[in-house]
Symmetry: C2
DNA sequence: GCGGTAACCTACTCAGAGCAACATCTCGGG
DNA sequence: CCCGAGATGTTGCTCTGAGTAGGTTACCGC
């Protein structure tokens, strides 16, 4: 007889661990329940469905990432350094939670409506933070703030680039360090962004 | 009594259509079989498993993408224009195959070993092509070709950025056109890459 | 002690992947 | 013409695992 909150904690702990080890389809609800020392209906009473339990695991795993983002918003440092710190923290996080990252973020879209929605919300929050950061930089550079959509797209591109490099790093753990990857991303994104703000654009051949 | 090749075509056709409409878990093997006018064991005889059938669908859907990549390698045009054409073709493709794209590429990793491997191979091929393209540009700019890993990482970042922007576009179809997104990517990636090649690097505050 | 509620379990249903064993068509060689 | 081998196809089953109905036990305020 254990109070609900505590049981929920135990269940999430066990589920997160098992999902991380063997993937969504590799784990049955019965197994998770047994690990907790409880039976299946309890899982359903508390989380509704297997996907519900999985989404709760996603949320649990997402918290540190959101912490990183929220810290990176701190406006007391220069925008480029903010981005730098955020990227560094991100790659550190991925490095230290490799299996969790690939289980609950990379492979989680396409695991059902709810999971996809939760990942979408997470990405949304990150994109908003990045857009704010880039937008402030643009404003400082005297660029009209009308180009919100433009900046949002740049934020999305940056986020995708970071995710993609992280995923690649997961499969080639021997290549480089978190610092190196963060630095690569900075140079990939920040320098080009500077060019864009200075109006140095690439144009298709037809318009040159 | 229909010859094997023809049946396989029919099965792939039906499976691709149903998976696209309702997702992997939303379709049963029985339903696919019924659509073809055949029974389940035939599907297993020809594709081994549900995942095998799904992987075959991925391959089918990937062919046009690989065609785009292979065309973009054509060395008779300038590297930047090659990249431009490739990006344009990519966004056009995603635009015209929205459901297929999200079913067989976005949500396909994390759907089992084999599917993940197939997507990995696809990404690998694209990365190689991009690395070649970027590498040639670097060589033209007189940069030592030792930095293959560096360039490979840039290629990965570019690919991830493109995928991510495409995915975002899927959820905001009203925002922009294929041309606009390709242009955004060009400016995001190509301009920054130029800076890198010119040695104009961003450095962390500690080293300035 | 005594309701009442929260925690918990037994014992099922049901869908769907996968397979064994059997049936039928077709076509080339005698 | 026909007959046998391989390809095509089916019936009917097993088994795993998600999800649930209905009942039981422990705890807590009064």
């Amino acid at each position: 007889m254990v109070p609900r909150r505590e049981r929920e904690r135990q269940m999430l702990e066990a589920a997160a661990q098992l999902f991380t080890q063997r993937g969504y389809d590799g784990v049955s609800m019965d197994e998770i329940a047994m690990r907790v020392g409880v039976t299946k209906p309890m899982l359903y009473a508390y989380f509704g469905s297997k996907e519900g339990l999985f989404v709760a695991c996603i949320e649990r795993a997402a918290e540190p990432v959101l912490d990183i983002v929220r810290e990176a918003i701190d406006p007391s440092v220069a925008p480029d350094e903010r981005l730098w710190r955020g990227l560094l923290a991100f790659f550190d996080f991925v490095d230290q939670h490799r299996d969790e990252w690939s289980t609950f973020f990379v492979g989680a879209s396409g695991r059902g409506e709810a999971a996809a929605a939760r990942i979408g919300a997470l990405r949304h929050e990150i994109r908003v933070a990045l857009t704010t950061l880039l937008g402030r930089t643009a404003a400082d550079a005297g660029v009209s703030p009308e180009l919100v959509t433009e900046i949002e797209a740049q934020a999305q591109a940056l986020m995708g680039a970071a995710e993609s490099v992280a995923e690649w790093w997961l499969r080639h753990p021997e290549e480089g360090t978190a610092q190196l990857h963060a630095l690569r991303l900075m140079n990939f994104a920040w320098m080009g962004y500077g060019d864009i703000l200075r109006g140095q654009l690439w144009l298709p051949p037809a318009q040159r």
